[in-house]
Symmetry: C2
Amino acid sequence: MNAKAETRSISVEYDLPHPPANVWRALTEPELLAAWLMVNDMRPLVGHRFTFRAEPTPWWDGIVHCEVLEIDLHKRLSYSWRSGPESSRLDTVVTWTLTPTPSGGTRLTLEHSGFLPANAYAFDGASEGWRRMVGERLREVLAQVA
Amino acid sequence: MNAKAETRSISVEYDLPHPPANVWRALTEPELLAAWLMVNDMRPLVGHRFTFRAEPTPWWDGIVHCEVLEIDLHKRLSYSWRSGPESSRLDTVVTWTLTPTPSGGTRLTLEHSGFLPANAYAFDGASEGWRRMVGERLREVLAQVA
């Protein structure tokens, strides 16, 4: 059994009525990104290291450590997503793919991959969290992007 | 292999310079308890159901569901501690034991039991979290309890 076989991914698709250029802005501009996800110092440059920061809880320091892995302007964005204590650390990858639709909108796919069995609690939290963040809050932010 | 054999516990001991009656107050009075742990509606009555509430994050609703299981005034307090999404749900038990010390203080032990392998991420978070909550913040609150 290899390591890859033991990991799980979250994969979701959204049809958005906004063009890829606008969706790209909401994924890569720190202020827009913060408005639907978390405070961050994202820059869309391969190799750039940045963090997302949520309110800490008694059980989580609230910090996600990221590095940009792949950029294809308006088409594809990938970054590492690491968080949590050493022994059960999330060491995962988030990949966004943007495809223009005939109606001028965007088919947005999110893949969050690399969850180990020991990350099951985080996996379930993220499954529900992305649904709410992307399915609800990103849509609200996009409605305000010119 | 039975279910019990597959679970893990967090177990920690603290020597506190305060008498058991004061430590008991900090464990059972909602306002004192909130000052070092989380907002709650605890009442030290067997069968009482209550919640702890932290700031929600994108990945956790911030709610811990509890029920008081055992009360032995100034000596022992136990409650269930359930949180998280259905499939990787924490279904654990927190038990506090207070023993008077010859110097008039309290030997406080915390056992947080019932972590499944799928709860590893939460287990590590709680291990670090209790250290900080009890080892630092509870001590600060106790310093202010007459």
